[in-house]
Every structure is written in structure tokens, then in C-alpha cells.
């Protein structure tokens, strides 16, 4: 039934695969080992070959209900059972339920005399019988190389091995053959020559006293596979190649935004904070307040009712709680309400893989919405640079796949020059905040700026970062011709500016008053002139009146004289003259010229 189904879709599935059930291995091999073909697993002593092979059988039996045969050339049934019991594998029970057959092949070198030609038909018979007795789909031969020490006729042995692998293929079982790592070749006796479908290399290296196991798919005929070296762990429940989601970049993203706990910082990030599920890097030199920003972020998240997992690699939980109290951040109740959880561990405690595994376990158990790593750099120092980066990549992938927002603090030593590892790490981050020191004027001030924030408008401004017992605040740093001014220099500059403005205002007021005064003076002058003008007009009128009166008096006198002299003709002439003079007096104000004229004419 099964094979029929697979045959019906040969184009879609070019190479049928057999899921190993080992965490991570199926991902890097793109679905498992080649189905119905032998796979060679090689590596040095103690790198986990037997365990991988055994787990392949155990998972096959428990997860996929496929029976298996374990043909061991080195360890007896009892030894094998005892060795893997600590990982929770119950070989005895599987054997009892006909899901597993363990066949220990005893080979003792020098015990057997060889005379003439022979073949390994006995091995074939045993294997065949074991496979048929439980209907096994999976076979492990661990490790075939023991044959080389038991049998001297290498020509026969090689011919028989070739036949064995052919036979395994014909039998249609998926097999794992383990072999010891050789000096020049992948295996000591060149077994890779016979197994051409899939070769997996295991490795156990020690770097700076920290041992890490690695796995690499050297060869996988006819299938896409990750060619990288992948670190793997032997944990409490078997082998695990830590999540290899890094092969794909297709996690879903959220456009939901979350506040940072610092309003001004939110404002710098387009007013709404970070994206949910994004990764944030916070770099800074020592003492720039990285942990404080992280704690604020945690505090804000907890107040939204989210769970926060705080991994601290330098300070103990109590120390963080105490220190944050000093800036008015009370984390204790959040810890009590189980919204905030600290996990403190020294980076040098164990290898990166173990750290990663522990973190994953913690994350799975606590299911946080926000994860904080403080600082990630000290953790990265527990391994080599590439290992560190690999770890961060896997960590970010893991968190992103779960839509967990992550904040990583990173300690930098130099001032402006970024360490290469940091630059490498930054490419994995969605947002990058930089905290920096500015020295000058005999003081040290902190500034913060947003180096990058993918997918959101963000401020390009440098902000001064103030820490007080009331918490943290961001203020605009002064940027002038002499550069960025912070601290007292900024305060002095602000005061200077204020004074300048004040002086300007005072100057303007003074000039205004002066002008007002001048205007008032002018007005006064104008009114003085006007009164003068009026006075002279009055004078004129009076003169006119006096002249008129006098003329009239003269006329009267003349008339009187005439009357006295009895001259009638001149009496009529004198009366006409008097009437004309009266009309001229009426418009004397409006046209003084006329009056002058009149006067001049007279």
C-alpha cells in the first residue's frame, strides 16, 4: 500500500526519504535518510555514532512504528540497553514487543584461523533472519569495521562488504552503518567507497575548554541538503540537532507595535515602538544603561500583561531587581505575579549548545511574549565567533517563528568602531539602538540613537539619555557648529541661547520705547506749531479787525467831515467801499492768501 502510493507520485518526490525522528536531522537532510538505502555515519570516538544509530531505530519504532535490527559488533545487548537507558530508550521493552532485534556479533581477533576461501554468508543469514523475524524496515550495523580486525583476508572482506550493501539495498531496508573516522579518509577502512548515497560526519571538538558536537551531511546523492556543519547535542532525551529553521526564512511577521516603556523612544520609532516579534539589538559601551533600557522594556511588557523571560549572563536576578529599584523601577511584584522570570547563568558554565538548549527549554516552559538576553556578547564569547553567530541566528529564528519579541544587549569595547562580530550580528537584527558615551567638559554623558529600524519611520536624531532616580528620560541633545553638546554643556548652551533671546527682546523693547518717545516729541512739536499757527491766525484777524475798525472810523470821520462839509457825492462812494471790506473778513481763515492779496492790494 505504502510503496504503491509512493510510486504513483514519482515526479513530485524524486527521492523517497525515511524520517529518522531525530530532532533537527530530518530538517537538515530535507526529510530524512534515503529510504531503502544505506547511510554511512562516521566520526571519531565518543562523538555519538552509536547513539544516533540507536535513536534512529528507537524513533522508528516509537514514532513511525517501523521495526528495526541493531547488529552490534562492539557492544553486547546488555551493554547497549544499559547505555541508552539513561536517555529514556527502553530497548528491552522494544525487543519484547518485536519492534527491535539486537544481534551482537562477537569478533575476537586472532581467535579464528583462516584456511582457504570463504565468504560472509553467515552474516547475511543472521541479518536476513533478524530482519525477517520482525519485518524490520530499519537496520543498523555498528560498527562494521570491527570485521577488519577479526578477518585477515581483506580482499574477501571488501568484496563481501560491497555485496552486503548491495544486498541491503535489494532488501529495501534503510540502513545506518557506522564507522570510525580515519586519518586521511572519512573512515579508517574506506567504507565510504561502498556507501555512496548518504554520508554523515560527526565531530566532537573542543574550543577554549568547551566541547561542541557537530554534524555535517557530507554527501546526499540526489537530494538537497544543508552542507553546513550543525552543532548537535546529546541531551536528556536523546540527540538533537538544534533547530535548523535557519534553512528557511519564511516566518510570519506581525505589524503589531509594542511600546518600549520610554515614551520618547517610542516617539523616535515612529511614535509606536517596536514591531512585535522583531529582534532588537541594543549596543553600548560599559555603563551606558543597556540593562536599564532592557528592564524598562520588560517592565512595560509586563504592564501590558505579557510574560517576559529575562536571561541574564552577568547579574543575578536579585541584583537586577535591586539595581532597577534605584531608578524607580519596581520589578519585584512582576516577578511575584509570574509575569517576569529571570534566568541567570554564567556563560562559561557550559557550551553554547547547552546554553541554547537550556534557553529553548525555558522558553517552551514559560511561553513568554518577550525575551531579553543581557548581554548576548558574553554568551557569544563562550564559543568561537562563528559559533556565536550561529547560535544567535538559531535563537532569533526560533523566537521569530514563535512571534516572540527579543531584545539583545551587546557590550562593545571601542567607542565608534564596531566590532566585526557585532556588525555580523546586526544583520540579523531588525532594530538597532546605540547607546554611547560623550566625554567632555569634565563629564560623561549618555546618548542614544536609532541606528536602524527595519520597516518603520524612525528619528535620525541623537538624544541625550538621562538616568535619574525617577527613571529614564530622553532629551534633545544640542547640535550646533561645535558638534553634539550634552550634559552641562547642553545646559549651558541652552542658558546662553535663552539669555540671547532675552537680550534681543530687551533691545527691541528699548528701541520701541525710544521711537515712541520720539513720536510723542514730534507730536508735541506738531501741536506747538499748530497752536503757533492758530495764534498767528488770531493775530491776523485781530489786525484785520483793527484795520477795518480804523477804516470805518476813518470813513465815519470822513463822512462826519463830509457831512460837516456837506459833500453828498462822496457820501455814496464811501458806503460802497465799506460793504466790500466786510465780505473779505468772512473767509479770512480759509484763504489767507486772498486776505494778504487784499491787504497787499490795499
Amino acid at each position: 500500500m505504502k510503496t504503491k502510493g509512493k510510486r504513483s507520485t514519482p515526479k513530485r518526490v524524486p527521492l523517497p526519504k525515511c524520517r529518522t525522528g531525530i530532532r533537527g536531522l530530518d530538517e537538515i537532510t530535507g526529510g530524512g535518510l534515503p529510504l531503502g538505502r544505506p547511510t554511512l555515519v562516521c566520526g571519531g570516538a565518543g562523538c555519538g555514532k552509536t547513539l544516533l544509530a540507536t535513536e534512529f531505530l528507537v524513533r522508528g519504532a516509537t514514532l513511525y512504528h517501523e521495526a528495526g535490527v541493531l547488529m552490534s559488533f562492539e557492544e553486547t545487548e546488555a551493554e547497549l540497553t544499559a547505555n541508552v537507558a539513561s536517555l529514556g530508550f527502553d530497548l528491552a521493552s522494544l525487543t519484547k514487543h518485536k519492534m527491535l532485534v539486537i544481534d551482537y556479533v562477537h569478533i575476537e581477533s586472532g581467535d579464528v584461523q583462516e584456511s582457504g576461501d570463504y565468504d560472509l554468508e553467515g552474516l547475511f543469514v543472521r541479518l536476513n533472519f533478524a530482519i525477517d523475524s520482525v519485518g524490520a524496515k530499519r537496520v543498523v550495523l555498528d560498527s562494521l569495521e570491527a570485521l577488519f580486525s577479526g578477518l585477515r583476508n581483506e580482499a574477501v572482506l571488501r568484496a563481501e562488504l560491497r555485496r552486503l550493501f548491495r544486498w541491503l539495498k535489494d532488501k529495501g531496508v534503510t540502513a545506518i552503518i557506522t564507522a570510525e573516522r580515519g586519518r586521511d579518509h572519512l573512515t579508517r577502512h574506506g567504507l565510504e567507497e561502498y556507501v555512496s548515497d548518504c554520508v554523515i560526519l560527526l565531530d566532537h571538538r573542543v574550543n577554549d575548554q568547551i566541547a561542541t558536537r557537530h554534524m555535517r551531511v557530507v554527501k546526499y546523492r540526489g537530494a538537497l541538503h544543508g552542507t553546513n556543519e550543525f552543532p548537535f547535542l546529546i541531551g536528556h532525551d536523546g540527540l538533537s540537532v538544534q533547530p535548523i529553521t535557519s534553512l528557511s526564512l519564511n516566518h510570519r511577521v506581525s505589524s503589531d507595535r509594542i511600546a518600549t516603556g520610554i515614551p520618547r523612544l517610542d516617539a523616535m520609532l515612529g511614535g509606536r515602538g517596536f514591531f512585535r516579534g522583531s529582534s532588537i539589538l541594543l549596543t553600548g559601551t560599559p555603563g551606558t544603561g543597556k540593562t536599564i533600557v532592557a528592564a524598562n522594556f520588560a517592565h512595560a511588557a509586563c504592564h501590558r500583561g505579557e510574560r517576559v523571560l529575562f536571561f541574564s549572563f552577568e547579574e543575578s536576578p536579585h541584583q537586577i531587581v535591586r539595581n532597577m529599584n534605584s531608578i524607580g523601577l519596581d520589578l519585584e511584584p512582576l516577578v511575584k505575579r509570574k509575569l517576569l522570570r529571570f534566568h541567570s547563568a554564567r556563560p562559561s558554565l557550559y557550551g553554547l549548545e547547552m546554553h541554547l538548549s537550556t534557553m529553548f527549554k525555558e522558553i517552551q516552559a514559560f511561553e513568554p511574549q518577550v525575551v531579553i538576553m543581557d548581554p548576548i556578547t558574553s554568551l557569544m564569547n563562550a564559543g568561537t565567533e562563528s559559533e556565536g553567530k550561529g547560535m544567535v541566528t538559531r535563537l532569533i529564528d526560533y523566537l521569530k517563528a514563535r512571534q516572540i519579541t527579543s531584545l539583545f544587549t551587546s557590550l562593545t569595547q571601542g567607542g565608534h568602531v564596531l566590532a566585526t562580530s557585532e556588525a555580523a550580528m546586526s544583520s540579523l537584527m531588525d532594530s538597532w539602538l546605540l547607546l554611547q558615551d560623550f566625554e567632555g567638559n569634565g563629564e560623561r554623558n549618555r546618548v542614544l540613537y536609532v541606528l536602524k529600524a527595519r520597516g518603520m519611520a524612525h528619528s535620525n536624531q541623537i538624544r541625550e539619555f538621562l538616568i535619574s532616580d525617577k527613571g529614564i528620560d530622553l532629551v534633545d541633545a544640542y547640535i550646533g557648529t561645535s558638534g553634539v553638546l550634552t550634559g552641562s554643556a547642553r545646559a549651558a548652551q541652552t542658558a546662553r541661547e535663552k539669555a540671547e533671546v532675552l537680550a534681543g527682546q530687551q533691545e527691541a523693547a528699548r528701541r520701541k520705547r525710544e521711537l515712541e518717545r520720539a513720536r510723542v516729541a514730534l507730536e508735541r512739536q506738531i501741536s506747538a506749531l499748530r497752536s503757533e499757527h492758530e495764534a498767528s491766525a488770531e493775530e491776523l484777524r485781530r489786525i484785520d479787525e483793527q484795520v477795518g475798525t480804523r477804516t470805518r472810523m476813518l470813513k465815519t470821520e470822513r463822512t462826519e467831515l463830509g457831512r460837516l462839509r456837506q459833500a453828498d457825492a462822496t457820501l455814496a462812494d464811501g458806503a460802497r467801499d465799506g460793504a466790500r471790506d466786510g465780505a473779505r473778513d468772512g473767509d479770512g481763515n480759509g484763504a489767507s492768501d486772498g486776505s494778504h492779496e487784499g491787504r497787499a492790494r490795499r
Binding site: 544481534d103 556479533v105 562477537h106 569478533i107 581467535d111 579464528v112 584461523q113 583462516e114 584456511s115 582457504g116 576461501d117 570463504y118 565468504d119 560472509l120 554468508e121 553467515g122 552474516l123 543469514v125 543472521r126 536476513n128 533472519f129 533478524a130 570485521l147 577479526g150 578477518l151
Partner: protein, 109 residues
Amino acid sequence: MKRAKKSTPPKKRGRLTAKLWQLRLYVMDQTPKSMEALTNLKKLCETHLKGRYRIKVVDLLKDPRLAKGDQILAIPTVVRLLPRPVRTIIGTLSDMEKALLGLDLRASD
């Protein structure tokens, strides 16, 4: 060891003559190799152990279970069950010298 054996040839011969040799030949079907091994073994026994041996041929094709129980890998395999200790020789026994060495029969020459 060698000298010790030489120094007590009568005892050794006595042991060899006194006890019955029990040999078992594991074969896989009636292949030419298996047949050759049986022929060679018979010849060897007739020469050195005439009348004091018993050969049992086990065909693993008929009972594959025995391969595991007797730790058989190579075919053909001759197992000397008696006299003790148990000795194993693999191959067609075409190399008579090695076969004798394997069965520890050289002393009886």
C-alpha cells in the same frame, strides 16, 4: 609451549587417541565452497584422526537461527567442539598447513 608439547609426546598422543573429536561444519546450501570444505575436512580427518572423529554438517539455510547462537559469520566455518577448548577455522581448508594449525593437529604429525 612447543617444547612442553614435545617433551610429552606420549601423553599428548594419548589424549588425542583417547578422546573423540567432535567437529561441526557450517555451510550454506550445497555451494561449491561448502562442498570443497567438506571434502577437505574429511580428507584431513581421515589422514590424522582416522576413526576418532565425528563431523556434523549444519546447513544455515535450514536453520538460520544457529548462525546467531554459534556466532557464525563466515561460510564455511569449522568448529572444533571437542576436545576443549573450542577452536574455529574459516575457509575451504584448502591450505592444509593452516587448517592443521587451526585444529591444533600439528603435534600429532
